[in-house]
Symmetry: C2
Subunit: 300 residues, 2 copies
């Protein structure tokens, strides 16, 4: 079967990217993607045109989407649910898709105390719960803005966002540290990663002081880009784990994502005596979108 046999289309439409899947029930038939995320589009007609373009040749079936496409700057602003709330998001129909397919967008989740928001991760969490309805523990979603969500009885009870991925990218690509990193990538098994992680967890102020040392070390002696990038990763993930300690300590932790970043979180949690499970992010997204659609009763 190919995309032409789809009976619905799943879409993960974030700030930077759009990914669509031609689906038949829970089976994925074809995947496509573009870099035309919410940030690259402004008018509703832009969203409609991009969706038409990227799904060309696929049948005229309903599109179920999640992510920043539902933000204020997105296609249609979809309201947030408030914690504690069921993980399965409510869907809002785009009132006028300008002649294109019907589109329904998943709502994000907000928390008032302390203030926090997510858009897209709630759908991944719903996908995990569709497969494991009795999951009770913490779901970690590493990324630009890493989320830690406490799940119980099918609900998102509480969550916390840490800007780890965004701050890493700013420091690694735009700060003075960029001169010391080269093209090296962090080895999660390296001593430099473990050492920086331990410092950031136990002595966060010292970890903060050590950031400039990553640059200075290469000026007063020979630099080692692989160790330097591992130290930067270890420091930022250590600060993140320190900030989220109340979430993961003594809990069952599921990491959604098979990315390099997810592997770093896995290694970091293992060093703290936690044995996380890793789940696939795209599988979770598609399962969550299907669960959201089924919940409306409109899924044929």
């Amino acid at each position: 079967m190919s995309g032409a046999d789809a009976d619905w289309i799943a879409a993960d439409w974030g700030s930077s990217n759009l990914r669509v899947w031609a689906m038949r029930g829970s089976e994925m038939l074809e995947a496509r993607g573009s870099d035309r995320g919410m940030g690259a589009l402004s008018a509703p007609a832009d969203f409609a045109a991009e969706l038409d373009r990227i799904t060309e040749g696929w049948p005229d079936v309903t599109v179920i989407a999640c992510g920043m496409v539902g933000a204020r700057q997105g296609w249609v602003e979809v309201p947030y649910a408030s914690t504690p709330c069921p993980a399965i998001p409510a869907l809002t129909e785009v009132p006028d898709t300008q002649g294109a397919r019907r589109v329904r967008i998943a709502g994000g989740v907000m928390q008032t105390d302390p203030p926090d928001v997510m858009r897209g991760e709630e759908t991944q969490i719903a996908g995990v719960l569709a497969a494991s309805p009795d999951f009770d523990g913490v779901i970690c979603l590493p990324g630009t803005h890493t989320k830690w969500a406490r799940i119980s009885a099918g609900e998102i009870v509480h969550f916390q966002t840490v800007m780890t991925g965004e701050i890493f990218a700013l420091l690694a690509r735009q700060s003075v540290l960029r001169h010391s990193l080269g093209d090296a990538e962090t080895d999660p098994q390296s001593e430099a990663f473990a050492d920086a992680l331990a410092t950031a967890l136990s002595q966060p102020h010292q970890a903060w002081a050590r950031l400039f040392r990553l640059r200075a070390a290469g000026l007063v002696a020979e630099g080692d880009p692989a160790a330097t990038v591992a130290r930067l990763s270890g420091t930022l993930i250590g600060l993140d784990l320190g900030a989220a300690r109340a979430h993961w300590l003594g809990q069952q932790v599921l990491i959604i994502g098979a990315s390099r970043l997810a592997r770093l979180y896995e290694a970091a949690l293992k060093l703290q005596g936690v044995a996380p499970i890793i789940g696939d992010a795209d599988t979770a997204t598609r399962a969550g979108l299907l669960a959201a659609w089924r919940k409306t009763g409109a899924r044929p």
Copy 2:
């Protein structure tokens, strides 16, 4: 008297800016500046041409310079002194100024354990010590890379760099937080600044977790740009003070700089029971350059 009466020229040539002063002894006759810092220049001829351009009309007198102009990517690489060392920097003559004035560049200071470097701040420290030879305490030099230097018996004993200014600029201008700050500037007397500072000093992991909340607070309720920027400043300066606590606790602290940033450090230290003195940065730079030149015996 005007710049035409100068008997030497002082230059502060950093990464982003060049500032020059026509000097007669310790008296400043005229000031000029440009944005052609070390980062905007590459070949030695570029440095020579820019210096000629900016000092046009001034006499053919010696130029004494400090800052990144002496870095590997600068005009001539000038060696570092190693801590502990006298604050007054040694000068290295530019071997060929391509027909322009004689130029001598101050050397920076490095530290091997832990690794750290400075270029330019040593000259400001030397200027402070020229006026107060018996100063014993800590000099704080707020900036892109804030320095904390322990001074005793006329020497730089130890120092520490924290990337506070650079990280503030990245977060405020390029991260998702930029949407929440507007054009607001931090009020050092605000409760938001004091509150974020206290959290960052006593609970640094929580401070780290609160960064994203600065954005989320404006999505789940009405945002307050003035309080938001004050919280961001308070958080980063609090992490900085926490990292440098061993430097300032129970010490006499002198802050060099009258900038807004220096005022924030002053307010932050006062909240910790330290009563810092503030000194003018440009005055210190010029006095340090003169002291360095006099030390060579070449100053007529």
